[in-house]
Structures are given as structure tokens and as C-alpha cells.
């Protein structure tokens, strides 16, 4: 994807951008989401590779093992994809209309990367679901999803809130809250069959 970069490869020669550099940039952003603090990395050097990877991973994990090969999880995969990307685009448009000074792709980048805690929650939930179903099972999953949901909200507002004028912050954060809530709901209500 298009990346913000100070030096897109060596301009004098024909050498291409190294792949490792892009991979490292993606990894660095993942770290910034896991330990959110005020930094410009997610905003300045935006890229959409991370959100794509996370979206595909999440959609793959949200598949039901269906006995019928006709409905082999296809609609759910596309559904997750559409919810994530359409939701992120809508939130971005909303924050731009509210007068935020963040660019379109930067906002998509932040929202996409902050799905990481919820993807981790999905992974944990799938592991927990391998054990016996029951109220304890559900309570553990509920706790994990709530913690990760809060983490996503904190991480994304740490990056996004500064770009809004102060009296509009709640209006800009509320759709983000809804977005991650819908994803958390999908994760919590997931059953493998």
C-alpha cells in the first residue's frame, strides 16, 4: 500500500524498497498498539498492510465449521471483511466531517491497527472454546473480550482524539466505540458449530 516515507529507496539508483523495511515498519506499529503512548508513528508512517492482515486473520478465525460444503463459511468471511472496512471508512468520514485534521488513510490505519487486541481476544476465545462449554467458559471469554475491547478503545483514542477539536471529541469517539463493540460482539457470540 502507499506508505508515508521520508526516503522511498535510494533515489539515485534503481534499487527497490527493501521488503524487510516494510515488514519492520508493520511490526513496529503493532508494538505501538500493544503499548499505546503518545507517539506519531501510527499517524506519520501510515500503511494499510497491518489492517489487511488483521482483518483476514479475524475473518478466518470467525469461520464456523460447517458440515454443509455449500455454505462453507463464505458469507461470514465476506461479512467480517465488509463490516471492518466499511465501518472504518464510515468512522473516518464522520471524523472528517466533524472537522478533524487527520487524513483519510491515517485514520483507516489507526482503526485497523487497533483491531489487534480484539484479534488476540479471538485467538484466546477459540482456545478457551476447546474446553467444556458452560458458564465458567463464558465468563472467561467475556472477561477477555471486555479487557481487549477496552484496550482497543484506549489505543485508538490515544491516537485519534488529538486530531479533533475538544468539544467534538465525544462525538468522534462514540462511533469508534460502536465499531469495536460490534466486533467484540461478533467475537463473544462466536460458537464453532
Amino acid at each position: 500500500m502507499a506508505e508515508a516515507e521520508e526516503s522511498p529507496g535510494d533515489p539515485g539508483t534503481a534499487s527497490p524498497r527493501p521488503l524487510m523495511r516494510d515488514l519492520k515498519a508493520v511490526g513496529k506499529k503493532f508494538m505501538h498498539v500493544l503499548y499505546p503512548r503518545k507517539s506519531n508513528t501510527l499517524l506519520r508512517d501510515w500503511d494499510l498492510w497491518g489492517p489487511l492482515i488483521l482483518c483476514v486473520t479475524l475473518a478466518l478465525m470467525l469461520q464456523r465449521d460447517s458440515a454443509d460444503s455449500e455454505k462453507d463459511g463464505g458469507p461470514q468471511f465476506a461479512e467480517v471483511f465488509v463490516i471492518v472496512w466499511f465501518g472504518a471508512v464510515t468512522i473516518t468520514l464522520n471524523s472528517k466531517l466533524l472537522g478533524g485534521n487527520i487524513s483519510f488513510f491515517q485514520s483507516l490505519c489507526v482503526l485497523g491497527y487497533c483491531i489487534l487486541p480484539l484479534t488476540v481476544a479471538m485467538l484466546i476465545c477459540r482456545l478457551v472454546l476447546l474446553a467444556d462449554p458452560g458458564p465458567v467458559n463464558f465468563m472467561v471469554r467475556l472477561f477477555v473480550v471486555i479487557v481487549m475491547f477496552a484496550w482497543s478503545i484506549v489505543a485508538s483514542t490515544a491516537f485519534l482524539a488529538d486530531s479533533q477539536p475538544p468539544n467534538r471529541r465525544a462525538l468522534a469517539v462514540y462511533p469508534v466505540f460502536l465499531f469495536y463493540f460490534v466486533i467484540s460482539w461478533m467475537i463473544l457470540t462466536f460458537t464453532p458449530q
Binding site: E3, A4, V56, F77, F81, I102
Partner: protein, 205 residues
């Protein structure tokens, strides 16, 4: 040295004309980067092939969809970062400056006097052919998916259209240059064609 493209109608390689009578630089016909040219076409074409043959290859929609998305992503990265720079000397990217404003930068390599830096015509043709044909195909697929109500494929096709269309748009902007815009370039192209036809008719009569 890479610079912003200035208004140089005479020395730019025309996007549409294969033979350019005003050129006075010999253009090499051989392919200088065969591996790069191969990969430029490989990912795009294989994504299209997987999409068309998905029912035959695998009964799982998920596998096909993930494969296509992976191929499209690899193709996007390769074309944007590698093949454009090596094959035709163009590149584009997004730059966010200190104030947080985003700028889109489109650059083309100025033709240097060294022989080995000229753009080979065969490579240029391969590049533009691959770049233009594939997004058009994906748009056709989008309409066919829409009208035949295979809506679950629409997500994949839209991803294809967006990724490949973005590269196409970026490289056309690089080609056209920062000061001209597409309408003025199209007008000048058709104007030249019109004049050429008219003077050609006068000469033969």
C-alpha cells in the same frame, strides 16, 4: 537524477504511440529486467486466473478468497515499489510533513545521457499493458458479479479493483506529470492525431 516531471511534450514517451517519430534516442528493444517483468505480470494474471477457475481448483470459497487477496497484495507491493521504478522509471508515494498534512508525490526519472538508463520499449509496453488491462478486467468482473447476483464474490472483486486501480491511477499521474492534467493531455493528443491525419491526407493527394 529523479526530478518532478516538467512540461516536456517532446521528450516524454507517449503513453499511446508505439512508434514516435520525434524521438532521436535509440530505444532498446530487449528486456533488461526479465525477472521483474515476469513478476509484474505473474501476480496480476494469476489472481485473475484463480478468480476465474476457483470453482474448479478448490471447493472452498475461503481458500480462493484468501489466495486472491494475497496475490493482489503482493502484486500491489511489487508494482508500486519495484517494477514501476525498474521498468519505466516512475514512482509515487504519500508524504506526511511536519504539520500533519499529507502530500501525494509523483515522480518520473529524467532521462540521463547514459545509454544504459534509457527505458526499453519492450519493457515499457509490457508494463503499461499489464497495468491497464488488469483493472479493466476486474471492473468487468465486478459488473458480472453484481448482475449475476454472486454477491459474495463482490468483496474480492472490489478489493481487486481498488488495489489495481490505485496503481494505475498513481502511474498515470506520474506519467502525465504534476503540472499537466489528464484533460489537457488528452486534448493535446487528439489534437496531434487530428493534425497528423490532415497533413497526411494532404501529402498523399
Amino acid at each position: 537524477m529523479l526530478q518532478q516531471d516538467s512540461n516536456d511534450d517532446t521528450e516524454d514517451v507517449s503513453l499511446f504511440d508505439a512508434e514516435e517519430e520525434t524521438t532521436n534516442r535509440p530505444r532498446k528493444a530487449k528486456i533488461r529486467h526479465p525477472v521483474v517483468s515476469f513478476f509484474h505480470l505473474f501476480c496480476r494474471v494469476s489472481a485473475i486466473i484463480v478468480y476465474l477457475l476457483c470453482e474448479l481448483l478448490s471447493s472452498s470459497f475461503i481458500t480462493c478468497m484468501v489466495t486472491i487477496i494475497l496475490l493482489l497484495s503482493c502484486d500491489f507491493w511489487a508494482v508500486k515499489n519495484v517494477t514501476g521504478r525498474l521498468m519505466v522509471g516512475l514512482r509515487w508515494w504519500n508524504h506526511i510533513d511536519e504539520d500533519g498534512k499529507s502530500h501525494w508525490v509523483f515522480e518520473s526519472r529524467k532521462e540521463s545521457s547514459q545509454e544504459n538508463k534509457t527505458v526499453s520499449e519492450a519493457e515499457s509496453r509490457i508494463f503499461w499493458l499489464g497495468l491497464i488491462a488488469c483493472p479493466v478486467l476486474w471492473v468487468i468482473f465486478a459488473f458480472s458479479a453484481l448482475f449475476s447476483f454472486r454477491v459474495k464474490w463482490l468483496a474480492v472483486v472490489i478489493v481487486g479493483v481498488v488495489l489495481q486501480g490505485a496503481n494505475l491511477y498513481g502511474y498515470i499521474r506520474c506519467k502525465v506529470g504534476s503540472r499537466k492534467n489528464l484533460t489537457s493531455m488528452a486534448t493535446s493528443y487528439f489534437g496531434k492525431q487530428f493534425l497528423r491525419q490532415n497533413t497526411g491526407v494532404d501529402q498523399t493527394s
